[in-house]
Symmetry: C2
Subunit: 414 residues, 2 copies
């Protein structure tokens, strides 16, 4: 059962044997501890594993320092009330890819043979009645020093007049994604309607997911007519602010057998960082996906179900191409063919994705993995993809220069 990964080195096979998550949504009355408890207890129950079996824990969170003041030892504070203590606890952060990073570290600990059973947790409270506080926290996922200098220079150039929409009424990421969408429209003739159709699809999928922040379906007309965030993105094409947690229990093959677990195998766990990318060079998603496909032997044509980082619907369309689900420029056609809708060739974001399921940033990566695990175990209820054997998650974090700062791709198989 041992695989070869990471430059031909031999590591142990790793299984996910249980996942759990909270509803995603706006929960001003719920604490980080409360959210973490529900996700962790859910994952342990799903795995039929007692907390005393856990040998290490990896906790992803992006913004609790700015949102709640809990800057340090977040994992220890959240896990102690659950009786999870004494074992190594690592607090990991990679902005919106924090949970995937925690999961990746957990995979590594088991793959290396250091631990047999570990917990990975992602948790976030991002919603605040003062939305500017949430947007400021999101704004810390870029080079803050550089952006502050730019803002100061702009302010001086404008003679100290406050500029319209100066970063506090929406996440700075919306502008990045909108630009990427507009470029795609110019290069390939993609239409705003394509992005809108993705939003319609994901809200339909979300309507079938009891954990989703938005459970209402919508129509193309409604999405097109919705309030504009940044051209071409209207509100349903963008991920909302929200809170939530997701957790996973990982173990080695022998332990999975001994426990009589229903394993979902981690075929690839890839984390990469962004770079100063020249025009024409492969994008960070392509680079991460290439590594994942190469190390697992699973190709894009093998995938039955995929969760991508649709912080906006434009990002989802681009991800189709970067992940190799279709050729460059053909993302719009994939949408028109309904290939990524439930029932299509390769359903994407059956959970509803970030736009409908929600995007409590530090929880998102493991929530994606939870969806794939449920799909591969045949536990996805009304949104079940028939005979799903291979699934992929793609989760990005932060931005530096012209791409994400961190990108995680996981390939799972039953």
């Amino acid at each position: 059962m041992a695989g070869r990964r990471g430059g031909g080195k031999r590591v142990r096979d790793v299984a996910v044997i249980g996942v759990g998550m909270t509803h995603f949504g706006k929960f001003p009355e719920r604490s980080l501890k409360d959210l973490a408890r529900e996700a962790v207890e859910g994952a342990l129950k799903h795995a039929s594993v007692d907390r005393t079996l856990l040998q290490a824990a990896y906790v992803g969170n992006a913004m609790a320092g700015l949102m709640t003041g809990q800057e340090c030892i977040r994992g220890q504070v959240l896990l102690r009330p659950l009786g999870i203590e004494a074992i190594p606890i690592v607090n990991a952060e990679n902005a919106c890819a924090s949970a995937s990073t925690a999961f990746h570290l957990g995979w590594l600990g088991v793959a290396a043979g250091l631990y047999d059973v570990v917990l990975a947790l992602g948790v976030e409270k991002l919603y605040d009645e003062d939305k500017k506080k949430s947007f400021r926290a999101l704004g810390s996922a870029v080079d803050v020093e550089f952006m502050t200098q730019i803002a100061a220079a702009l302010k001086e150039a404008q003679g100290d007049k406050p500029s319209a929409g100066s970063g506090s009424s929406r996440s700075v990421f919306m502008d990045f994604y909108a630009m990427m969408g507009r470029l795609h429209m110019e290069r390939f003739g993609t239409k705003k309607e394509h992005f809108a159709k993705i939003a319609v699809k994901n809200h339909y999928h979300g309507s079938l997911n009891p954990h989703a922040q938005y459970r209402e379906t919508t129509t193309l007309e409604e999405v097109m007519a919705a309030p504009l965030v940044v051209e071409p993105l209207t509100r349903p094409m963008t991920s909302p602010l929200g809170d939530g947690a997701a957790a996973a229990v990982l173990c080695d093959a022998a332990t999975a057998r001994r426990l009589g677990a229903r394993p979902v195998w981690v075929k690839a766990s890839v984390l990469v960082s962004g770079k100063d990318r020249a025009f024409g060079e492969p994008d960070i998603v392509e680079r991460a996906a290439k590594k994942a496909y190469e190390s697992s032997g699973v190709g894009p044509g093998d995938l039955n179900v995929v969760e991508v980082h649709d912080a906006t619907s434009a990002a989802e369309l681009l991800a189709y191409e970067e992940l190799g689900l279709c050729r460059e420029g053909e993302g719009g056609r994939l949408v028109d063919e309904c290939a990524t809708t439930l029932g299509g060739r390769v359903p994407v974001n059956t959970s509803g994705g970030l736009c409908a399921k929600g995007h409590p940033v530090g929880a998102t990566g493991i929530a994606q993995i939870a969806e794939i695990v449920w799909q591969l175990r045949g536990e996805a209820g009304e949104r079940q993809v028939e005979r799903a054997r291979f699934g992929l998650t793609q989760n990005g974090g932060g931005a530096l220069g012209n791409e994400a700062a961190a990108m995680a791709v996981h390939i799972l198989a039953r």
Copy 2:
């Protein structure tokens, strides 16, 4: 060369082949990027390794979110200007043990065979002209929600009168350490002078360390007469606020040979968390040390040089006993015998330790490792311990209940 660790699993041997650090001190004019650059370039130069060889990077920082606003993707922001990009970058946090945690993850990546050459970096800007800002950041290394509830309850009980010294004029940790020191005095007859002698020793050691925040020697009389922080701790017995960075390059044995490096071997890399400890149960330092001794086969009697987490001098005296350098209750005698002073049986904190070298929290763990690496390579200059073969570092982070939240112990050997 392969060792057996972590429950009998086979992992690769890992070497530190280069370390670097900045001066520690108060540098309001230096940015996190500037500090990180100096430490990383120093480590790469010490290792005679080009940055292009690095396959992954682990970045420890505790408080940049609250101190600088850079809550997310700290490592990517700091390493991009150095051309370290595209590779996996993990941001790791465990309060004052953040750097040790980053180092531990780097060790794991190499030990597992996933990477051959990795970078571990610890960096912090903790000093601010508004010291309350620094103390508030340090105050996030406890259970913030719980402490806020306690503070509110106290305030109500006192009829809304502001209580004296209510947490903003010093780090909350000073009270914990002072209590531990007083308990030791009561139980074992330890004197305030013993703690003071440790401070004298460490300031002497610091006077020999070009990187130390304080380079002046002091006397027992001066330390006893210095301003009181909390009884029995006067100011020279406590670690100062400061800024700094430290970095290390790790690789596997074959790569170390190929590079012609002068390896210092990581014999044990142990990370544990705190627990709700009953009276009489082994303390978190004892638990971590026991694991490190057992997995390395190196015992406390083998150690030639040790760096401990003397956030206060009381903590250093307790660490002597918890690490097994002497029996319980005999820490004071060890001090009287000058056993831990340069030239003694087992010199402790030859760097000056946290009280004299300084304690930019997220940098401290790797700075300790740097000192041991220099000692084992015979590069420690005026503070060189002759024929040092085995060294140990002990680095704690945060507090929950009655002990630290995280504890890392590393054993290194030439």
